[in-house]
């Protein structure tokens, strides 16, 4: 029971002090007035002849302003608040006190989430009830209002779980790891993913924009728009819910582990597998049947994205996958150290997590990956002529993600090795390797395939792993220039040799380290 949850009671007490609620209400009223003003400008019409129409119009605008207010207070403020609380409690280490109590991890999470969002929930209730006035004026139907409000709650539930996970998993060692900065960074990421392929279904911003603008936008919170999923048209509401529930559960289970122990990994192997399975299922579902004749039979009412949009969606998932893989499943030097100690000590080994150095590199690499993908998205969006000729089966996208991830995994493994070989602060060497891997070779190949006017040049632009793909895909190997195959194999040989060097060298380093420990 939530009322018996000590953390909930305590945090709620802090959050619902009258002065706090009052100041939050004032900020919220100002925000809603601004929103109302924007809606009034957008929707002002000269055709409002009689007073009944006028009041309907006012009522509609009022209800919409309340819905947007619900988003602001429940989703944006609530998420920001939860994440900030976790980061702050980790910085002060008070979270360790909670860890030492017999309260279960799930109760700690629910205590934190519901306690910290209690002020947001109170305000949401007020806004929800106020919005009904607009509904009563006839400006908006109750079903529309209710479904939108439910969507706000669902979206908030997902983001609260996500905020819990990110608040618990974010490294505190980063230079900009200040409390508010983190919250702001998260807010910024919500805005960015709002325009990032399928990830936009996770973000509250397109929905908010649709509510305000009532315009022609590809995502709407009401069950009147559809997405294509496994050959069927699925209401966007259900698709959003599917994403929220899937990722929300993964975030919850990961948070449970993370709240028990500060140094447990942000995602366990099992969770990474779940995440991968979910991603594969969703991506496959979104691409299934797109390249069949069914495409033509879809009624025009449904918004059918063009091939460019699909590529963008694919790329969004590539970016997302890259982030996940990069951030959480790279081989850690500490784990390697432990492995060598274990070899020597021949006793039970304890595991630790020491991801600060890896994260520095990871950030760097992730930035490069994202920059690369964004450039490619941009090129595709500009409708480069050859892109329109593409015909690909959906399975290839999945394979791309797999190969892309493997290559990142492999690359970081190598870089970790190189960092050990070279002196401290010699980031320029791995940077050079990454640059060559991700930019030079793809660029040269791109130039080559463009010259040859190949049918599938997108392979050269989507991701660096595509040099390896032709080796595994018979279909492509028939159409792919031998240069790509040779490049792929060469990279494999180089990588194998480098990893051999790394292995040899790191073993030596660890043995030295062990000698030092044994003293």
């Amino acid at each position: 029971m939530l009322v018996e949850n000590p953390l909930y009671t305590a945090v709620k007490r802090i959050q619902t002090r009258p002065l706090r609620i009052l100041s939050l209400t004032i900020v919220e009223v100002i925000s809603i007035l601004i929103v109302y003003f924007i809606i009034w400008i957008i929707s002002s019409s000269s055709e409002l002849s009689d007073s009944e129409q006028f009041f309907k119009h006012i009522g509609r605008n009022f209800a919409i302003a309340m819905l947007v207010g619900q988003y602001i207070v429940l989703v944006i403020y609530g998420t920001f608040s939860i994440e900030t609380r976790f980061v702050r409690d980790r910085i002060s280490e008070i979270i360790n006190f909670h860890r030492l109590t017999p309260v279960s991890p799930q109760n700690l999470i629910s205590g934190y989430v519901f306690g910290q969002s209690s002020d947001a929930i109170i305000l949401w209730c007020i806004l929800f009830v106020s919005g009904i006035i607009g509904v009563l004026s006839g400006g908006i139907s109750f079903s529309q209002y209710l479904s939108s409000s439910i969507l706000v709650c669902m979206c908030a539930a997902f983001f609260y779980l996500f905020a819990t996970w990110s608040g618990l998993a974010k490294p505190l060692t980063l230079k900009f790891g200040a409390r508010q900065t983190w919250g702001f960074a998260t807010l910024l990421s919500y805005i960015i993913i709002g325009w990032c392929g399928d990830l936009s279904y996770l973000s509250p911003f397109p929905a908010m924009w649709t509510i305000i603008g009532d315009g022609d936008y590809f995502f709407a919170p009401l069950p009147t728009t559809f997405v294509y999923f496994f050959g069927f048209s699925m209401p966007t509401i259900f698709y959003s819910m599917l994403l929220w529930i899937t990722f929300g559960f993964i975030a919850f289970f990961s948070s449970k582990r993370k709240i028990f122990s500060e140094d447990s990994p942000a995602l366990s192997k099992k969770e990474i597998l779940w995440l991968y399975g979910a991603l594969a299922f969703i991506i496959t579902g979104r691409f299934h049947g797109v390249y069949t004749n069914k495409l033509q039979s879809i009624p025009s009412l449904y918004r059918v994205p063009s091939i460019e949009t699909f590529l963008t969606i694919g790329n969004s998932f590539l970016i997302f996958t890259a982030f996940i893989i990069l951030l959480f499943s790279i081989p850690k030097r500490i784990n390697l150290r432990r492995f060598f100690i274990k070899l020597q000590m021949k006793k039970t080994i304890a595991w630790n997590q020491d991801d600060a150095p890896s994260l520095t590199l990871t950030k760097f690499l992730a930035m490069i990956c994202v920059a690369f993908q964004i450039i490619m998205d941009f090129l595709i969006t500009l409708r480069i002529s050859y892109v329109q000729k593409i015909t690909i089966p959906y399975a290839d996208i999945f394979l791309q993600i797999v190969f892309f991830s493997i290559s990142i995994f492999f690359t970081i493994f190598l870089i970790e090795g190189f960092r050990m070989r070279f002196a401290k602060n010699s980031d320029s060497i791995p940077a050079l390797i990454i640059f060559t891997w991700f930019f030079v070779i793809p660029f040269v190949t791109l130039l080559y395939v463009c010259q040859k006017n190949m049918k599938a040049p997108y392979l050269a632009v989507l991701s660096p792993t595509n040099f390896l793909m032709p080796v595994f895909l018979k279909k492509f190997s028939e159409e792919t220039p031998s240069f790509s195959i040779i490049a792929g194999f060469t990279l494999l040989v180089i990588a194998t040799y480098l990893s051999f060097l790394f292995w040899k060298n790191s073993r030596k380093i660890f043995e030295q380290k062990l000698f030092e420990i044994k003293g």
């Binding site: 009671t9 030492l100 030097r333 500490i334 100690i341 039970t348």
Partner: protein, 312 residues
């Protein structure tokens, strides 16, 4: 006797440093174990590992009969941990803070108020019960966190630099509280680099330097003076030429050291009662003594003898 806390080959490896290098020691039930060493010696890391808040890179650790790696939850039930800089919710009132943990530790609702009151009484904070934590001084916050730590009556306490940053009065108050805890029979590990803080009440100690445990054990074992020996220092008014011969005639004498021409250190077999006999012996032999005192080796003396000063 079986050890309450047993640490074997503890290694804690961070990115650029190894904070603990093969640290091994044991703490027995009812002992107050002082973990001493300069800043950066690895004391806090060791305590965090023992408090299950930091996973070791390597090590076999047993606390209260439970294995640290496999039985973390059981260990958390019997320990209390107080970090060096006590974290609190500044926006809460003192009683609200204690109620949070009283409730979290499963203390029944009807007993909670009584437990909170007795906790506050224990740390002399009764008059601050309704104050906001943000308004408390640092010393008071430390005592509040100590009260919170003691709420579930843990068998084992890990206190990391509990008096750091406190003024002398607050330090004295905290010292009294810790002494009382020791008298209650709790097993305590207390880390500090302020040696006078520990000198009064520690029964055992471990000295850390550069991530290593240089020396550990009961105070009497750490000392150079054996348990069945009394060490006495005395001063004479002038240079005494035949004092060596006189001392050699004393029957229970083990050894003597001439510190200066006038200052002598004597080791005599027996307990404190032999001191009076020894004074009588000196007077009978016309030795011009002007001062005599029993030498006791406290933590401070032991620490400085080890020469520990480097960080890891």
């Amino acid at each position: 006797m079986e050890a309450m806390i047993s640490v074997e080959n503890l290694i804690v490896d961070f990115e650029n440093i190894t904070a603990c290098k093969n640290v091994s020691f044991q703490v027995f039930p009812g002992e107050i174990f002082g973990l001493i060493g300069p800043n950066g010696a690895g004391k806090t890391t060791t305590l965090k590992v023992l408090a299950t808040l930091l996973k070791p890179t390597y090590g076999i650790i047993n606390i209260g009969g439970f294995d640290l790696e496999k039985q973390t939850i059981q260990i958390r039930k019997i320990i209390g941990f107080m970090p060096d800089f006590s974290p609190v919710y500044e926006e809460m009132k003192v009683w609200e803070f204690l109620e949070l943990y009283a409730s979290a530790y499963g203390i029944e609702k009807n007993k909670r108020n009584k437990t909170i009151d007795s906790g506050l009484h224990r740390v002399n904070l009764v008059e601050k019960k309704d104050a906001f934590i943000g308004e408390l001084s640092r010393g008071m916050k430390q005592r509040l966190v100590l009260a919170k730590t003691l709420l579930p009556e843990p068998q084992i306490l890990f206190l990391d630099e509990p008096a750091s940053g406190l003024d002398p009065l607050a330090r004295k108050e905290l010292s009294e509280i810790l002494k009382n805890l020791g008298n209650e029979g709790k097993t305590i590990i207390i880390s500090s680099h302020i040696l006078t803080e520990l000198a009064d009440f520690c029964t055992a100690a471990g000295i850390m330097e550069k991530g290593r445990m240089i020396k550990w054990g009961k105070l009497e074992n750490l000392s150079d003076i054996p348990a069945d020996t009394v060490c006495v220092e005395f001063c004479t008014s002038g240079k005494s030429t035949n004092l060596t011969n006189i001392l050699n005639n004393y029957p229970s004498l083990l050894k003597f050291e001439k510190e200066t021409d006038q200052l002598w250190r004597i080791y005599i077999k027996g307990n404190d009662s032999v001191i009076a006999d020894f004074v009588k012996f000196l007077v009978e032999n016309n030795v011009p003594i002007i001062e005599i005192r029993k030498v006791k080796e406290d933590i401070q003396t032991i620490f400085f003898k080890t020469g520990a000063k480097d960080v890891s």
